[in-house]
């Protein structure tokens, strides 16, 4: 276990370092001189003379070797300083933290919804493969996979907010405003989770030891509760983590459509406005969180599967 933990933690650190270096390089890869961009962000509309460019790049340490600059940037990043946003002239860290809070609640709501819906559906269809329920569930969830968010979102708004006026159409003001975006975001996870739970249940129920459990006198129900369900959920836990990590940066469309001040919206705006510090800070945080969540999932998976460890003498 210790070996496993050390290995996973090492991969985590390496992944974050590599990603942060890539993020650090972004300004150098985008067209245009970053120094001129900085000056332009501070004093709009004026002609920039070469001496002030040279002066600023010297004072910012931009003449130092790339690696030195990267380490300096990383050190600042670790201490929580991500610089000032070009657009709002406020610290990037504050904006990223507040946007991350919004996205975390949105993604959590969506995934909780997805699990709550897909678990019973998957179990129902997995326990009776080929039944009418199974075929209905499979067909509907397969169809959901193909539904794009920019199509589902307006449809849901039209029905639930405009026609039935049950929920607000957009924004991020009261608790009810989380429902529609979370629902939109949950559609695809629902489809994938349901099919994963179904496969998990099918596999677990087909295992040889299930018959042995029945032969010990466990009723069909007891067998399902004790031996089928717990075993079928192991693969789902991994899937859940992958989706969580993916949605952190992947909720862009939904956040833009519903005007939610989350991570996706923040990154979208940062890119559109060439707000380099904001984009850098946002991406680094998303990557770090995503890697942390997948690592956590590895630990959970390791904890749930017992088929590790040497023979007993």
């Amino acid at each position: 276990m210790l070996h496993f933990a050390a290995k996973r933690t090492t991969t985590l650190v390496i992944a974050v370092v590599v990603a942060s270096f890539a993020v650090f390089l972004v300004p150098y890869l985008t067209p245009g001189d970053p120094v001129r961009k900085i000056i332009r962000s501070r004093v709009a509309g004026e002609v920039i003379d070469d001496s002030s460019v040279r002066q600023l790049s010297q004072s910012l340490g931009l003449d130092d070797p790339l690696l030195v600059q990267y380490i300096r940037w990383l050190r600042e990043l670790i201490s929580g300083n991500m610089g000032l946003s070009f657009g709002s002239r406020t610290p990037v860290a504050d904006q990223v933290i507040s946007a991350m809070g919004v996205t975390l609640s949105l993604v959590t709501a969506a995934l909780v919804l997805a699990v709550v819906v897909s678990l019973p559906l998957g179990v129902l269809s997995g326990l009776r493969p080929g039944s009418l329920t199974d075929r209905a569930v499979t067909t509907v969830t397969q169809a959901l996979i193909a539904v794009p968010e920019y199509w589902a979102a307006p449809l849901l708004v039209l029905v639930l907010a405009v026609k039935l006026t049950l929920l607000p159409t957009a924004g991020w003001t009261d608790p009810t405003s989380v429902v529609l975006p979370a629902l939109t975001l949950a559609l695809r996870p629902i489809a994938f989770f349901t099919s994963a739970v179904r496969t998990g249940v099918l596999d677990a129920a087909a295992a040889a030891h299930i018959q042995a459990a029945r032969a010990r006198g466990l009723s069909a129900r007891q067998t399902v509760m004790r031996h089928v369900l717990p075993n079928s959920l192991v693969p789902v836990s991994t899937l859940l983590a992958v989706w969580f990590a993916g949605l952190l940066g992947g909720s862009v469309i939904v956040e833009v459509i519903f005007a939610i001040p989350g991570m996706g919206k923040l990154l979208f705006d940062a890119v559109v406005n060439s707000d380099i510090p904001l984009a850098q800070g946002g991406v680094v945080v998303v990557v770090a969180l995503a890697v942390a969540v997948t690592t956590l999932a590895d630990f959970i998976h390791r904890f749930l599967t017992k088929t590790v460890g040497g023979p007993v003498a």
Binding site: A207, A208, H209, Q211, A212, A213, R214, A215, R216, G217, L218, S219, A220, R226, H227, P230, N231, V234, L304, T305, K306, T307, G309, G310, P311, V312, A313
Partner: protein, 555 residues
Amino acid sequence: MTSELVIDGLQVSVQSPVSQKAGTLLVNDVSLSVAPGEFVALVGSSGSGKTLTALSCLGLLPKGLGVTGGSVTIGDLEITTASERELNSARGGRLGMLFQQPKRMFNPNRTIGEHLQEPLRLHQGVRGLRARAKALDLLDEVGLHDPLKSSKAYPHQLSGGMAQRAMTALALAGQPEMLLADEPTSALDKGLETQILQLLNRERHERGLGILYITHDIRTVADYADRVLVMGAGSILEEGRVEEVLRRPESSYTRELLDAALLAPKSRRRPLPAEGPVLALEGVGKRFGRKRKGERPALEDVSLSLGRGEVLGVLGQSGSGKSTLAKTIVGLEAPSTGVISRHLEAGQPHRRTAVQLVFQEPHHAFDPRMTLGTSLHAPLISHRHLTPEQRVEQIQTAMNEVELDPVLLDRHPGQCSGGQLQRATIARALLLEPEVLICDEATSALDAVTQRRILDLLLNLQRSRGLSVIMVSHDMDVIRYMCDRVAVLLDGQVIEVAATGDFFTAPQHPHSQALVSASIPCRALGAWDAAQSRSSFLNVGHNAPPPERFDSSPR
């Protein structure tokens, strides 16, 4: 109250879930009884309906099958009409069951101790600390040395023998009156098999446990069973006391079962060929991965030769490097050290296809999505320049040679039996006209009767085609039956090479001596052996193997 298990006129059929109409009859009019303290053996080759009979006793037939006639009673309980609640209390309570492949019969995510809690709670009403203490007692009773450690272990941490002991503890936990044992030792080696049988035998004497022991191999039970029933194609063909059945088998099927179980040493003795060897290995070694301290290579300094027309046995236990040796000779693995030289017929000195391999698991040796015909065309297309008509002709000839119905060419592997597939594997190897055939545990996955048929086929082919054969096996009987010479492999090294007769009468190396002494056939089979050698005076010439009667049903 008597707790005798009585099966009377049992019929099991394929049942369509819609029409409830009975289809193919899989178990036909089986009647048997097991009294408390009695050990009854049910013997038959795979597909004979043994397992279905046992599952009927628990009311646990697979979906799509159903009891369509007869009755099964344990004591006063009629299983075929019992309610689900009554069945649940009988399963694991009055009727315990042992399965083949014990490790797969445990939930991989729960400890042995957690498994034992279930029958204790369900059938004894014991929970908590008392259940835990009881579980340790049971594990101790079945001979697990460290009950506490075993109860905390997960199934994969147990060896096969330990897992079957734990399974026995699990079956005994509900204090059953009757034990259904479905090939519980077929996956274990001889030594472990004996231990498990002794354990079961003790339980029946101490507890008065009745045992219905299902096996395809009559050798395993000959020393323990009171009565034996022979089952073939869904019906009981013969029944009686063990000695009687062994001495005077009535049905030809029983005789074949016994023949298959015995595998009498082969009588033909030819002088070893004077010609040079067809294959020679000199100092062959194979190491996988990087060199690590204290780690032995898979093969070390192996020197062997195979004479033209010779059958050489390579004997070794699992992990001894047998399969690596086979792969290295064929060329699937390159040797790390040493030289393998081939001395093939003139005119084609470098023909790669001259050495062919027959695999252990016939079901894994074919692409499941291809028909057998497609699989058999593949080697011809890659290696021989033939017209499609010629290919079809060649395949027909090969199918005839291995005595397979050409109809099977249109089937997929999943629709064929193990015996049929192993014949097809051999046919595929023959298509490339090999001079050397290497059989890597080619019959280990098959039941005794099928094994015998395949071995006889190989012997026939070896004679008719003048093949040189290497039989790689852990099975002493197979080696003795087939081979002219034996090479014993231990930890990747050849420790002994001897003529088969000499090897079995006077093994030199201590490891060989241990192997030979463990392989002495059981006492009761001596009766059949003696009867057989008397009658063999009447049989002149070679008996061709009978057509595949019980082997032809798709799996």
